[in-house]
Amino acid sequence: MTVFQFSSPAWMVCPVILPLIAGLLCFLFSHRTFAIALAAALTNLLVVCLLTGQLLVFGPMRCHMGGWQPPLGITLRTDGPALLMLLMTAVTGLAITLYARGYFSYRISDPRRAGRHQRQQRYFWPLWMLLLAGLNGLFLSNDVFNVYVTLELIGISAASLAALSGKPASLLASFRYLLVSLLGSLTYLFGIVFLYRSNGVLDLGLLQNLAANGLGIRTALVLMSVGLLLKTALFPLHFWLPPAHANALAPVSAILSALVVKGSFYMLFRFWFEIFPSTITQPTLNFMGTLGAVAVLWGAVQAIRQHRLKLMVAYSTVSQLGYLFIAFPLARVDGGIPVWSIVIFIALAHACAKSAMFMAAGTVFLHLGHDRIKDLSGVRASLPITVFAYGIAGVSLMGLPPSGGFVGKWLLLTASLGSSQWWWALVVITGSLLASIYVFRVMSRLFVIPEGFSLKKSEPHFRLLEWPALALALISLFLGLAASWPLHILVHGTTTLAQVFVGGLP
């Protein structure tokens, strides 16, 4: 059948449909849900690898849903940035799936609350699978309204996941998260209204070709951007993020911090730099950069001030998201760094490092029963791998070589100094220094083995908790050495306008 040929664009639907089916099955059956989810995550990774191969051989591809060409139908398409995001999701997702298994089975082994934890696990898998489907759908989508639907899919499943722990704090945080996410997507939908009024099409490819600069388009862009920024938690709109991320179960925190915020950011970025690059003015970009800079510094300072490990990691997410926006004002540097590569790099490195860090924090929490930073001494003795993973992830967050975070920061620095906008470079450097403070504030506790400390033998369950975190941390580390790889994919497959920004690479 032609569908199964290597060159068939129909492979593109798999990253959406497979997790979708897995989610349904996980909901339907109460046994073997992990097996289903694992199978879906593995197949997803395989298919994404296949899509990457496709991209390298054939270039960007499109798949028309139902065979209907735009403007009538919905189109999925793969290009460099989309595929990198898909790869990021697939790899991180697989690790998180394994980690979640370890996490839940460890908690269920505690007889006191086994029922509750069993229930959490029961609903975690379908929610997570549907979230995965939503994320993949978002990255692949080439239709404004379809993006809205996937955003909703992501938003609702993410909020439900955040509420899963059932503790009052997490319920409150998740309620706020749900409202914010709904508000964000409503604003986005409002933007679609203006877009549709002005142009009458929903397909991104068609919108891109319209040289539209009218009032309607601008309003649409403003509204959609505000909606997406709310979901991305850029500085003044970040208030919902730390409690939601910090109070969730550890695998959920990893998912939220590593993947979910990236989804809306990715769309924002697409709109600004691929679909409507001519509508955006440099002052706007500078404004976004300023917000990003404030986010970097403010988030880091807040992270330093936290007393709980998970809250600290959550604030670090606020800070790290700021770097993504500092890339904005640097996008138009003549002959400079391709902005796609900067952003993609920071996003990839952050996804791996942050999920590893949240996993490590979760393991520490499970081990000690709390995550107060001042009482973390001696963890290294019983959880050496976790502490190691935490350290490596921290290296990437600090942007030390040779991690992926370093390459991202290097690109940022080169772009800002190359265009004589040295103040961005100062912010980046200061942010890294602050990051080193909050990372090492915890690290120094974890590392120290106080005198008279008796070694607790770690339980066998910890294996599934420790190794996925380490694997992700190592990936984030070696991402820096293998940096030419993602760039290769990026250059190979970007749609025409994006190529303007990627131009200049070999």
């Binding site: 909703e152 409150l172 409202l179 409503l186």
Partner: protein, 111 residues
């Protein structure tokens, strides 16, 4: 044309009212209702756009489909948010029996 405009402006005002309420009120139920009013406003404008330039009784089906989708999403989120609000009330004030007094969520609980 003027009909469309009236619908659109009404939708806009609903959106604004909802937004204002959403920000100033701390009560979860009010927040949920506010968001619902906002989404109604957006849907109204969206439906109104379906009607714009044709005038021959022909309508654009795409906004209809979008509104339908939007409504479904809104229903789902509202349901989830309501139940979440109930859970918050239950856990934050476990002395209250059951869920009879659905409106009685402590005000300071959400801000």
């Amino acid at each position: 044309m003027i009909t469309t405009l009236i619908y659109s402006l009404t939708g806009l005002i609903l959106f604004g009212m909802g937004f204002f309420t959403l920000i100033i009120h701390s009560h979860p139920l009010r927040k949920i209702l506010a968001v619902n009013v906002m989404s109604t406003g957006v849907f109204l404008i969206l439906v109104a756009t379906a009607y714009i330039p044709l005038g021959e009784g022909e309508i654009d089906p795409v906004p209809h489909a979008m509104v339908l989708t939007g409504i479904v999403v809104s229903v789902s989120v509202t349901a989830l948010a309501l139940i979440l609000a109930c859970r918050i009330q239950e856990t934050s004030n476990s002395s209250l029996p059951g869920r009879k007094q659905q409106g009685e969520v402590p005000e300071e609980s959400i801000r």
